[in-house]
Structures are given as structure tokens and as C-alpha cells.
């Protein structure tokens, strides 16, 4: 084929100019990122842009044009997140340590304190331009303790911190112009915007709003010291510094000032998983349950799926077209819907399953609050969801078994049971092996089932993190990272990293199993 590849596109100029425009746009983005301090992202973007341009211009890279977009997708949405997750696993990234140290420093520097001795009363006016229109612009009149009157420049309702200048006014505005100030209720309505405002008066002091009627002179709480990143408290004179071990600003190591920041904490998260009893206990339990859950799910779906496949492949059983469709139905309905249906059906009080059980046996099992029952339910639902897949695959494999084998075994006097155990299962299991491993891997990470059915519950006792009896590793990390208890991204990523290793081993096993199957 190589000879055919020589001819390039018929319109090279169109392609190149298009590429040029895209490159310019990307370059603009890169500069923007670089300017905002996202150096890593800017670098990655730059590398991508350069490699993309090379691939689409160079003749040598002709073949890569076809795979580049796909590889890019895989790189950005699989490889990068994996690496980034491993990276986060070594940090304290969480809802308490959310920002970068630079951002925290800026937040601290923006903090102001009021001195309390100079209170300025204020009134709010609507700015009216020459045409007599209002246009939602406002200005303030501030009256100093010494009865000096200041008038600010007009401003729109600020949604972010904003500084406006004020100048000395000759007299009270309402007496001078006859315009009356806005009533207090409008001031209250605009309160949140006004809190964003810093008014600078000619003598240099900066005023911030401290009450519904007053502004006060304020000064920065912290000033940057000459030493890197250390700040000095202007009130107490204390020097505070970023503690890179714990990810917070402190002055003596014991206190925390301002929000925490993200920092590398080494093996801390992994250490917690292995040694912190509040985390280790639930982690081990969850790990064990994950393996049991995935293993039993594969086993049960295999048994049911294989049985059904054998049944509907059995010739005397007429009408297998309709059986087949009916049996596939659980797989055809989107899983999230079926899982939620089961969640409702298993409901302790209103669920139809308990209604039936109550009528028949007079029992109302607590499917969601008893750990054993919850686990049983999860397995039942997962078998229901998963058997059609195994069945579909088995039907294909069963068709490939030559009839002569069964005829030969019949001559040897074998019954259906011997046929199944001596011929069907051994012949079908080998090609099915890689698929079963893949199915195990799928269930190992079956977040949707757990998140939608039980959400991990019932809760495990003695855990310092949100952990439940039916939680599997992924749902546990999901709750750690995005649950309502406060997000610990670092710990979640550490567990995710452990899952990567496990999945890696499974993937390797799968590759071996596939090779083995293909070589036979």
C-alpha cells in the first residue's frame, strides 16, 4: 500500500491555512494560560499543538494523521486523568486544602481589618446621566467623623472586589441638588454588592462597609515580607509562613491561618490507608467485599447465562426467537433505569417486593439497613443485569460446538448432565475466559450499580470516612471525593491508584488469557 500513500491531499494550501488558523488560536490560548501561571497546562497544550501540526504537515507522518485524533482523545481522557490521579494521591488536595499556595497568599493579602476609630456614614444615590436616564449606576456619599463629605465615582453593582475613588464634595448632595438618597431597603438589597466595594479617599485611606449605614477606614491585615511567601500581621507583628508539610499558613506551626493550600504530602495518604485504623478497617472490609462481589457476580451471571443459553439453543424447545428477546430484555433497558426500579421495588415500606413477601410469608426484610440483606440484594440485582451478556456470548460459542460431539457422546450413553459437564462447559470455558476476566474487571468498578442502588449503605460502624457495607472500592472513592461529607480528593486518589494497580494486573491477565485462547 505504501506506493498509494504517496499522493497527498489535493488542496494542500487550504489544509495548511486552516491548520495555521487553528495553531494561532491554540497559541493564543497557551499564552493566556502561561500568563495565568498554568505553566504545566500551557506546556502540554504547546506540545499537542506542535505535534498535531507536524503530523498534519509532514509527509513522513502521513499514517499518523488517521490515528492522531483518536490517540489524542485517549491521551487526554484516559492517560492524562490516570497520571493526574496518581499525582493527586500524593497531595492533601481536599475541600479544606483546595487552592494553590499562591491563591491562598493572595486571599490573605486581600484581608483587611478596620481600625474602629473612623466611621463614615454613607448614603446611596442613583447616578443620573445627562439624558436623565438611570442605567443602574450608583454613587455614594460618605460623611467623615469630622463632617467632611466625600462623593464617590459612579459604579455598577460590583460582583467582585472593586476599588472606587471618592473626592471631597463641597456640601451635602441632597441639600445641594435636591436628589434624595435611595431608601434603606434599596441599600439592603444591594448589600452584597456594596461589601465588594473599597472606597479610596484622597488622603489615601481605604474604606470598606462594616454595617448597613457605615463604612470604616481599613488597612491590610497582612503585608508581604521581604522573605519569600512569608507575611507579617500588621496588628500583632507576627510573621506567618506557609507550612509545606501540612499545607497551611501558620506562625508557630500549631495554628492554621486562612484556608489550606495544596501541597505534596508524600506517602501520607497511602500510610493512612495502611495504618490509620479509622481508614484501614473499612478499606480492608470494602476491598474484600469488592473482590467477593465481582467474583460472585461473574459466577452467578455465568451460571444463569450459560443455563439459559443452553436452554434456548436446545432444538426441541421451539420458539427460541421470542425467548431470546425476552431473556435479553434486562440488558436492553438502560442499567440506570433498571437499578432505580429495583431500588424502588426493594423499598422497605412501599416496595412491591416487601408487599408480596408480607402477603406470602408475613415478613418485611430490611433490604437497605441490614448489611447481609443489602449485599444479597446487590448480588441479585447484578445477576439480573448481567446474565444476558454472558448468555449472548455463550449462544455464539455454543453454535460453534459441532453436533457430532453430542452424537458421539450419545453413542457412549451420556445423558444431558454429562453432556453439559463433559462437553459443553469445558469447550466453552476456554474462549469465555478473557470475557469473564473482563466481566470481573467491569464489576470490580461497577460504580453505577452501587451508587444508584444502595449508595454504599448501610454505613459501616467505626469508620472515620463515609464507608458502607455494600461499598466497593470505586464507590468508596467516589463518596470520598464527591460525597456530602467533605471531599478528600487526595485519599480518594490514593485508593484509585491502588485500584489502577489491581486493574493493571487484571488487564495483564486478560491479555495472557486472550493470547492463550487465540493460540489454541
Amino acid at each position: 500500500m505504501t506506493g498509494v500513500q504517496k499522493r497527498g491531499s489535493g488542496r494542500p494550501w487550504l489544509a495548511i491555512s486552516l491548520l495555521g488558523i487553528i495553531d494561532l488560536l491554540i497559541l493564543y490560548g497557551v499564552t493566556l494560560m502561561y500568563a495565568q501561571g498554568e505553566i504545566a497546562f500551557a506546556l502540554i497544550m504547546l506540545i499537542l499543538a506542535v505535534s498535531a501540526s507536524w503530523v498534519f504537515i509532514s509527509h513522513k507522518a502521513y499514517c499518523y494523521r488517521y490515528v492522531f485524533p483518536g490517540l489524542l482523545g485517549v491521551a487526554v481522557f484516559i492517560v492524562f486523568p490516570l497520571l493526574y490521579t496518581v499525582n493527586i494521591a500524593f497531595t492533601n488536595f481536599s475541600s479544606t486544602n483546595l487552592l494553590s499556595q499562591g491563591r491562598v497568599k493572595n486571599i490573605l493579602l486581600a484581608q483587611r481589618h478596620t481600625t474602629g476609630d473612623s466611621i463614615y456614614k454613607f448614603q446611596m444615590f442613583e447616578a443620573i446621566d445627562k439624558g436623565g436616564k438611570t442605567d443602574k449606576k450608583y454613587y455614594l456619599q460618605l460623611t467623615a467623623p469630622d463632617d467632611q463629605v466625600y462623593k464617590t465615582a459612579s459604579f455598577r453593582q460590583p460582583t467582585a472586589p472593586k476599588v472606587v475613588k471618592a473626592r471631597l464634595a463641597s456640601a451635602d448632595i441632597s441639600t445641594e441638588t435636591g436628589v434624595s438618597p435611595l431608601p434603606l431597603r434599596d441599600v439592603i438589597k444591594n448589600r452584597d454588592h456594596l461589601y465588594n466595594l473599597t472606597v479610596k479617599i484622597p488622603d489615601g485611606s481605604q474604606l470598606v462597609m462594616t454595617g448597613i449605614r457605615r463604612f470604616e477606614a481599613s488597612s491590610p491585615l497582612y503585608v508581604a515580607s521581604d522573605k519569600d511567601d512569608t507575611l507579617v500581621n500588621t496588628l500583632t507583628g507576627e510573621t506567618i509562613y506557609p507550612d509545606w508539610e501540612t499545607g497551611r499558613y501558620t506562625h508557630d506551626g500549631s495554628d492554621q491561618i486562612g484556608p489550606g493550600f495544596v501541597t505534596y504530602t508524600g506517602w501520607q495518604n497511602f500510610d493512612d490507608i495502611l495504618n490509620n485504623p479509622g481508614i484501614k478497617g473499612p478499606f480492608l472490609k470494602i476491598f474484600l467485599w469488592t473482590v467477593i462481589f465481582a467474583g460472585l457476580s461473574v459466577l452467578f451471571t455465568l451460571i444463569v447465562g450459560l443455563l439459559m443459553a443452553c436452554l434456548i439453543q436446545w432444538e426441541p424447545l421451539k420458539g427460541n426467537g421470542i425467548y431470546r428477546i425476552l431473556l435479553i430484555l434486562p440488558y436492553a433497558v438502560p442499567a440506570f433505569i433498571s437499578i432505580l426500579i429495583f431500588r424502588g421495588l426493594f423499598n422497605q415500606n412501599f416496595g412491591e417486593i416487601n408487599v408480596f413477601l408480607d402477603i406470602l410469608f408475613g415478613i418485611k426484610p430490611e433490604w437497605f439497613s441490614n448489611a447481609t440483606l443489602a449485599k444479597t440484594m446487590v448480588l441479585m440485582v447484578n445477576t439480573w443485569l448481567g446474565y444476558p451478556y454472558i448468555m449472548i456470548l455463550s449462544i455464539g460459542l455454543l453454535k460453534a460446538i459441532p453436533d457430532t460431539l453430542y452424537e458421539a457422546s450419545a453413542i457412549d450413553g451420556a445423558g444431558p448432565w454429562q453432556n453439559l459437564t463433559q462437553i459443553t462447559i469445558p469447550l466453552i470455558l476456554k474462549p469465555l475466559m478473557p470475557l469473564l476476566i473482563a466481566s470481573f474487571a467491569f464489576n470490580f468498578n461497577n460504580l453505577v450499580l452501587i451508587a444508584l442502588l444502595t449508595d454504599g449503605g448501610p454505613d459501616l460502624l467505626g469508620a472515620t470516612t463515609p464507608a458502607g457495607a455494600t461499598d466497593i472500592l470505586v464507590s468508596y472513592t467516589f463518596r470520598l471525593a464527591f460525597g456530602s461529607y467533605g471531599q478528600d480528593y487526595g485519599l480518594a486518589s490514593a485508593i484509585a491508584t491502588i485500584i489502577f494497580l489491581i486493574v493493571g494486573v487484571i488487564a495483564w491477565l486478560n491479555l495472557q488469557a486472550t493470547k492463550k485462547y487465540q493460540s489454541v
Binding site: 491531499s9 436446545w314 432505580l340 426500579i341 431500588r343 412501599f350 453432556n419 470475557l435 474487571a441 471525593a481
Partner: protein
């Protein structure tokens, strides 16, 4: 598989048939139940399989029409189900289209062209496909948060972010399409090249028309996967009108606000089209699954 013994065959067939129907009754019980529930008045009603006094209350609410109760009070629809369904369809359609385009072009190269690292890339794809996005949700969340700083329409809480993020799932599809391309005689494209076709023309006029079946399978598989995707969407989306169906449906069964009947109607409304598509295309899909499974 042909069983050979004719002895007591009739008796056995009957046993099998009864067993099968019993199994089907248990298996399909949830579906009958949910249909029944969607016609019961109220959200806590229990009753027989065929509702005694059927009501269209839940269906009306699911379709976004306020329901006038018997006492004259009006129940507004709680959740914008149709918006969610529409969101899901948009996300699924565009992500499947993207996946289809990208995986077809990659598969073409892997099947037909020879280049360095080809084998390595294929093995890497095979392994990477085992790592689902759910393992890296934190990173995906952070990634889109960053992107959102520069391109708000592609940031958190945007459907385009969800659409784009599903591209990661294309490795499996590359294997599927590649397998199919390899069954098509290479000399067809060579003949086209001799006829004066550029590689692109050979691809578009010869290979693509012959691959329509597998492309349809891949599109449908990707579509169904995207519709049912929960973890990524739940992390990236949060405002009520942006949710996809998979994320939104969950809200119905909140212990604080248990809307079992409304859920039933919404579930049928949204689940039925997908189920019908699946059943109609099941022969193809099953073929694709088997091939993909055995190969991938």
C-alpha cells in the same frame, strides 16, 4: 446442540418450558410492576398488578404537563424529565458521532497502513480500555474545571464537557471496526487506487460503504453507553436543567422526596425508546459484542 436421546423427550421439553417461563416471570416482574405503578394514583399506593382506578397523573407530569388533582389543586411537574431526556440524547448523539469518526479513522490506519509503533499503540489501547473513566473522576473534574477557566462552554456543568469526555471510550470501538475492516479484501482499495482514486476516495467510496453495518453497530453501542453513563455526568453536571437522564432520575427516589409513581412514568418514557432500539438492532449489536468481546 442436538440432544440425541428421544426417550422421555416430551416430558423433558415440558419441564424446560415451565422452568423457562417461571424464570421469565421472575425476570420480567420488575417491568410489569413499573408499568402498573406508573398508572397508579399517588406515589405511595400499593395494589394489584392491574391498577383498580388507573390514573394518568404520573404520565402527565412526566410529559411536563401540570396535573389537576381531584380536589382541584394543581401538581406542577417536579423534574424536567423531557429536558433531561433531550440532554441525554444530545450528549449521546454527539459523543457517538465523535467516537464514530475518530475510531473509524484510527481503525482504518491500524487495519490498512503500516507505521512505526502500530503494534504498541494497539496493545496500549487494549490495556487502557480496561481503565474506566470512573477511576479518574477527580482528575476529570479538575481537568474540566481548568478548561472552564478558558472556555466556559466546555467547563464544568456544560453538556459539551460530558460529550467530549466520552471520547475516552473509543479504544474498544477501534478494535471492533479494525476487525471488520480486516475482513474486507485489501485489493478493493488497490483496485480503486489503480482506477485513479486517492487514498481518501478509496476510503470514502469503497471501504466506508462496505462498512456501514459495523459503523451502525458502533454508533448504537456508543449511543447506548452514553445514555446510561452515570459517574462522569454526575460529577460534571449539577444544575437541574443541565442534568442527563441518568443523573437526574436518581432524584426521584430521594428519601426526603419519594416520587415512586412519577419515576415509573418517567422511566418508561425514557427507557422505552432505547430498549426498542436495542431490541430492533439486537442481532447486529450481539454480533458486535461477541466479536468485540472475543477480540478485545
Amino acid at each position: 446442540m442436538a440432544m440425541v436421546q428421544p426417550r422421555n423427550l416430551k416430558y423433558r421439553v415440558w419441564c424446560a418450558r415451565v422452568g423457562l417461563w417461571a424464570f421469565l416471570a421472575v425476570t420480567l416482574f420488575p417491568f410489569f410492576m413499573i408499568i402498573s405503578i406508573s398508572f397508579r394514583a399517588g406515589n405511595f399506593a400499593t395494589g394489584s398488578l392491574i391498577p383498580e382506578n388507573p390514573s394518568l397523573e404520573h404520565w402527565s407530569l412526566a410529559l411536563g404537563i401540570p396535573w389537576v388533582n381531584a380536589d382541584g389543586s394543581i401538581t406542577e411537574p417536579f423534574f424536567p424529565v423531557l429536558t433531561w431526556l433531550w440532554n441525554s440524547i444530545k450528549v449521546a448523539f454527539f459523543s457517538s458521532a465523535l467516537i464514530l469518526i475518530l475510531s473509524t479513522s484510527s481503525a482504518y490506519a491500524f487495519a490498512r497502513l503500516r507505521f512505526r509503533f502500530r503494534e504498541h499503540m494497539l496493545t496500549a489501547m487494549m490495556i487502557l480500555q480496561m481503565f474506566p473513566a470512573v477511576l479518574a473522576l477527580v482528575a476529570i473534574h479538575a481537568l474540566f474545571e481548568k478548561i472552564g477557566h478558558y472556555l466556559p462552554w466546555l467547563g464544568l456543568n456544560s453538556l459539551s464537557a460530558v460529550t467530549i469526555s466520552y471520547i475516552g471510550g473509543l479504544a474498544l470501538h477501534i478494535w471492533l471496526i479494525k476487525g471488520y475492516f480486516e475482513t474486507i479484501d485489501n485489493s478493493l482499495e488497490e483496485a480503486a487506487a489503480i482506477d485513479g482514486a486517492t487514498p481518501w476516495q478509496a476510503f470514502r467510496l469503497v471501504l466506508l460503504p462496505l462498512s456501514v453495518p459495523i459503523l451502525a453497530v458502533v454508533f448504537i453501542l456508543a449511543f447506548i453507553t452514553a445514555i446510561g453513563e452515570y459517574p462522569v455526568a454526575s460529577v460534571l453536571l449539577h444544575s437541574m436543567d443541565k442534568l442527563t437522564l441518568a443523573v437526574g432520575s436518581r432524584q426521584y427516589l430521594n428519601p426526603q422526596n419519594y416520587l415512586w409513581g412519577d419515576f415509573a412514568a418517567a422511566a418508561i418514557l425514557s427507557g422505552l425508546p432505547i430498549t426498542i432500539i436495542f431490541v430492533l438492532c439486537q442481532r447486529w449489536i450481539v454480533g458486535g459484542l461477541t466479536a468485540g468481546g472475543v477480540k478485545g
